[in-house]
């Protein structure tokens, strides 16, 4: 058993970072994983974006893998990421249910300690 590695990549040009972080923490708490640390990593320039394959802020990585896989048309660069809610609405952060489901699956794969 091990800790889940959760990392939130963010860029200052998008105002959604705080809301995204709150959503991740809430999902972790719902899953009984509230002890898991969410590491914050700022993407400062195009070089950072290219080096990390950053397709927009916020991007949430679990064990280094994008929690919500990016669509093929997403371009690497400094921008705000477009997510879709389950009801089809556009949102700057993932749907809370998608977030919870992806975290649950990642935790099960990793047999994470709670």
């Amino acid at each position: 058993m091990r800790e889940l590695d959760v990392e939130l990549l963010w860029w200052e040009g998008c105002p959604s970072t705080d809301r995204a972080l709150a959503a991740v923490r809430e999902a972790l708490t719902d899953l009984g994983l509230d002890g898991v640390e969410v590491r914050m990593r700022e993407i400062k320039d195009d070089g950072d974006a290219a080096a990390t394959g950053f397709v927009g802020s916020p991007t949430i990585l679990i064990d280094g893998v994008d929690l919500i896989p990016a669509a093929p048309e997403e371009q690497i660069g400094l921008s705000c990421r477009v997510y879709r809610r389950r009801d089809g609405r556009v949102s700057p952060i993932p749907d809370p249910d998608d977030l919870r489901e992806a975290l649950r699956e990642a935790a099960e794969r990793a047999e994470v300690k709670r």
Binding site: G13, Q75, G77, S79, C80, V82, R89, S91, P92
Partner: protein, 175 residues
């Protein structure tokens, strides 16, 4: 640079996606709504339907809506003029979608994010500047701050809330 409430907004001449040219002046409209927006920002996309609904709802009162995309299309190809045309062809736009290729208009207005809403009266004086409403995530808000401002301008009074903080993606300035 930014325009103060009550100050006259700069005029401009910008092309739309259908080959027309649009100006902020000489329209005879009792109010003009200038919205800086774009194709790729989730905030602009989330508020788009509410802004479009407001444009339709106020059309019969003569209010004119002008959407402007000023993002640097070289670094953000999804905001190119061709991408703007494709989007208008694909969607139902009740307002012209203008291209500010030089970014001069966005600079002159002091636009900061997408969406950034400016309500001008018949003399092109700024009466409201800010977000369409308080929450991009709540369609039920129906661009209420914008509607309140328009109702006030059309009724000959000052909007009770003349300025709010625009929320969205930073405008992508050219280097």
């Amino acid at each position: 640079m930014s325009i103060s409430i009550g100050a006259q907004a700069p005029d401009f001449q910008l092309p739309d996606t259908d080959g027309g040219m649009w100006s902020a002046s000489d329209s005879g409209a009792p109010a003009t709504v200038v919205v800086f927006t774009c194709n790729h920002c989730p905030y602009a996309l989330a508020w788009q339907d509410r802004l479009a609904d407001a444009a339709r709802d106020y059309a019969d009162r003569g209010v004119r809506f002008l959407a402007i995309n000023a993002n640097d299309a070289e670094r953000y190809p999804r905001d190119s003029f061709d991408a703007m045309k494709a989007r208008v062809d694909r969607e139902d736009w009740p307002m012209p979608y203008l291209h500010d290729a030089t970014q001069e208009v966005a600079h002159a207005y002091g636009a900061k994010v997408t969406p950034d809403v400016f309500v001008l009266d018949s003399e092109r004086r700024l009466r409201y500047r800010g977000a369409p409403d308080s929450d991009y995530d709540d369609p039920g808000q129906r661009a209420e701050w914008l509607r309140e401002a328009l109702d006030a301008v059309l009724g000959g009074s000052e909007p009770s809330r003349a300025e709010t903080k625009p929320v969205g993606c930073s405008i992508k300035w050219k280097a």
